[in-house]
């Protein structure tokens, strides 16, 4: 037992320099805010630069027309690139999201063993793979086999890039769901698979959506793997088995041209790409997370990203 004398002695050890501690508190607060400001500066300046340089190119024609001939006065658009990027995102999600989520469920719910640990390790390795290697790989196994660059090949490569991101974020979100909800489900005599899909997965929904959005944002800007898989095109899509254009590829092509109009169009295309990712992000969050009420929605959209 601690005696009264000891307790008095212990009390003497506490510091009573409140003034100094309040100053330290303030310094830390200012430092933290300063770091936040520093982190926001690049984002804000990129947005500013892209917008001011590209705004001149923006027009309805720019969004809907095919690119003009290189070096001519004909001002074209980036219609095929927008179409191609949307098609690639859609198809990649169709392949990557279900596999990624199921893989994440496996890692979280059934992966607590040697096999699970192995899968987790190689999944993490895949997440760090240079994407150009994935492009070359897809070129060898799909483009050469089919005999042409295609939307399929591009989506395949992009879905491989999505997979590890979605798997890992799904796993982490599922693990955050308290065990008490699972137990409540089991106690109701619900099968494990149903507990996982209908109770745990819905409870982890916002984390899952965030993971998918991270993956979408990541693949929307990928350029290297597309060179080997969709090649690029100045025409609208003719089918899923032919080459198409994509915004990152178009930005790259336009910005490497020596003409001012092309440079401006490149900035414009970059602005459109950023806005597209932004719009998809907000749209998906609105659709999947709206049931929680407006105030919660705002929180989830702007503050609740893990």
């Amino acid at each position: 037992m601690i005696t009264i004398e000891q307790r008095a002695e212990f009390r003497k050890h506490f510091r009573y320099n409140i003034g100094r501690r309040l100053i330290v508190d303030k310094i830390i607060k200012i430092t933290v805010l300063g770091c936040v400001a520093l982190a926001v500066v690049p984002l804000a300046s990129i947005m500013y630069e892209v917008f001011t340089n590209g705004v001149a190119a923006l027009s309805v024609d720019f969004l809907t027309q095919v690119p003009g001939a290189v070096g001519s006065d004909e001002i074209g658009g980036i219609g095929p690139a927008i179409q191609g990027t949307l098609a690639l995102i859609g198809l990649s999600c169709l392949i990557g999201v279900p596999i990624g989520i199921l893989g994440g469920i496996f890692l979280s719910e059934y992966g607590n063993n040697k096999y699970g640990r192995t899968v987790r390790f190689f999944n993490d390795v895949l997440a760090e793979f240079p994407t150009i290697v994935i492009g070359v790989f897809t070129f060898v196994i799909i483009v050469i086999t089919i005999g042409s660059f295609s939307v399929w090949a591009g989506s395949f490569a992009l879905s491989i890039i999505m997979l590890p991101i979605i798997m890992r974020t799904t796993e982490e979100s599922l693990k955050l769901v308290p065990v008490t909800y699972r137990e409540a489900g089991y106690a109701l005599g619900i099968k494990r698979s149903v507990v996982v899909t209908r109770i745990v997965l819905t409870a982890a929904k916002s984390g899952l959506v965030t993971g998918i959005m991270l993956a979408v944002a990541r693949i929307s800007g990928e350029t290297a793997p597309l060179i080997f898989t969709i090649l690029g095109s100045s025409q609208f899509m003719t089918g899923l088995d032919g080459p198409i254009d994509a915004l990152p590829l178009r930005i790259w092509r336009l910005s490497s041209l020596p003409y001012d109009s092309a440079q401006t169009q490149g900035w414009g295309a970059a602005f459109i790409l950023i806005m597209m990712i932004f719009a998809i992000n907000i749209g998906v969050r609105y659709v999947f997370l709206r049931k929680r009420g407006t105030s919660m929605l705002k929180f989830k959209m702007f503050g609740g990203v893990r």
Partner: protein, 270 residues
């Protein structure tokens, strides 16, 4: 040690007429890793009666309760041996799927745990919908009936679409009890259902237990000895993983046969 000289009064269950009891636990030994939390407990639970399990923290009450609906084995590295007979049928025999049994034995947890993404209505309906019942009129009827049984209906009938999480702690716990009742169990296990609640909410839960007793065999783990005397007909006192004494609540509290039981119910240790 003192414990070695003690005998559990109901050790020999097999000789008893099983038909008289709703649930019979025989020689339950439960462990986590190498730690034995429940040491060979046998106990019989009557239908339409409340049996309380009391004892100091860490004595294995909750673990034993979780063995009764095969929830214990879901914990990592947990092991159970023994038999639990529901109407004479062993829940631990391989012939029966644990899922079917958990539907017959409802469980209420210490902390209210309504499903976070579901509305009040969906929380009660979860055990029905996710077990394949899809007739809306049947679900409606059960949801209303169960919410009435836990005296929550009048408080929430206009807010059934609101999230279950929007309710107060006491209401959430009654919601969880309604959810457990919705799957039409025959036995109700309650793990300190009122320990996280204030006295008024506790009183409501206790009144409800007394009412539910008319239809169910209820087994309740509690730290609160007054609660045990108020709601239960039978009481088992557990200590260090053993069932020290088991009998009618009145007898356990007023005339305990065992020295340790006497000390515990008098509040000399806890």
């Amino acid at each position: 040690m003192m414990m070695e000289t003690m005998k559990t009064p109901v050790a020999n269950v097999s000789s008893v007429d099983k038909g008289r009891y709703k649930l019979v636990a025989e020689n339950i030994i439960a462990s986590y890793d190498d730690i034995v939390a429940v040491k060979n407990i046998s106990m019989k639970f009557k239908d339409k009666a409340v049996t309380a399990l009391i004892g100091p923290s860490g004595c294995g009450k909750t673990t034993f309760l979780r063995c009764l609906n095969r929830m214990h084995e879901l914990t990592k590295n947990a092991k159970v041996t023994g038999k639990v007979l529901l109407d004479g049928e062993d829940l631990y025999s391989n012939a029966v799927d644990p899922i079917i049994n958990r539907r017959k034995i409802g469980m209420v947890f210490q902390k209210p745990n309504p499903f976070p993404t579901m509305s009040i209505y969906d929380n009660v309906a979860a055990g029905l919908k996710l077990n394949g019942i899809n007739k809306k009129n049947v679900i409606d009827e059960i949801v209303e009936g169960c919410l009435k049984m836990v005296y929550l209906w009048d408080e929430v009938k206009n807010d059934l679409k609101k999230p279950g999480m929007s309710l107060s702690g006491g209401q959430q716990q009654r919601l969880c009890i309604a959810r457990a009742l919705a799957i039409q169990p025959e036995v109700l296990l309650m793990d300190e259902p009122a320990s996280a609640l204030d006295p008024i909410a506790t009183q409501k839960i206790e009144e409800m237990i007394t009412e539910l007793k008319k239809e169910y065999a209820i087994i309740i783990v509690t730290h609160n000895m007054q609660q045990a005397t108020r709601v239960s007909d039978y009481t088992g006192f557990m200590y260090l993983g053993d069932l020290v004494e088991f009998g009618e609540t009145k007898q356990i509290f007023e005339n305990p046969r065992n020295e340790i039981t006497a000390k515990y119910v008098q509040g000399q240790f806890g």
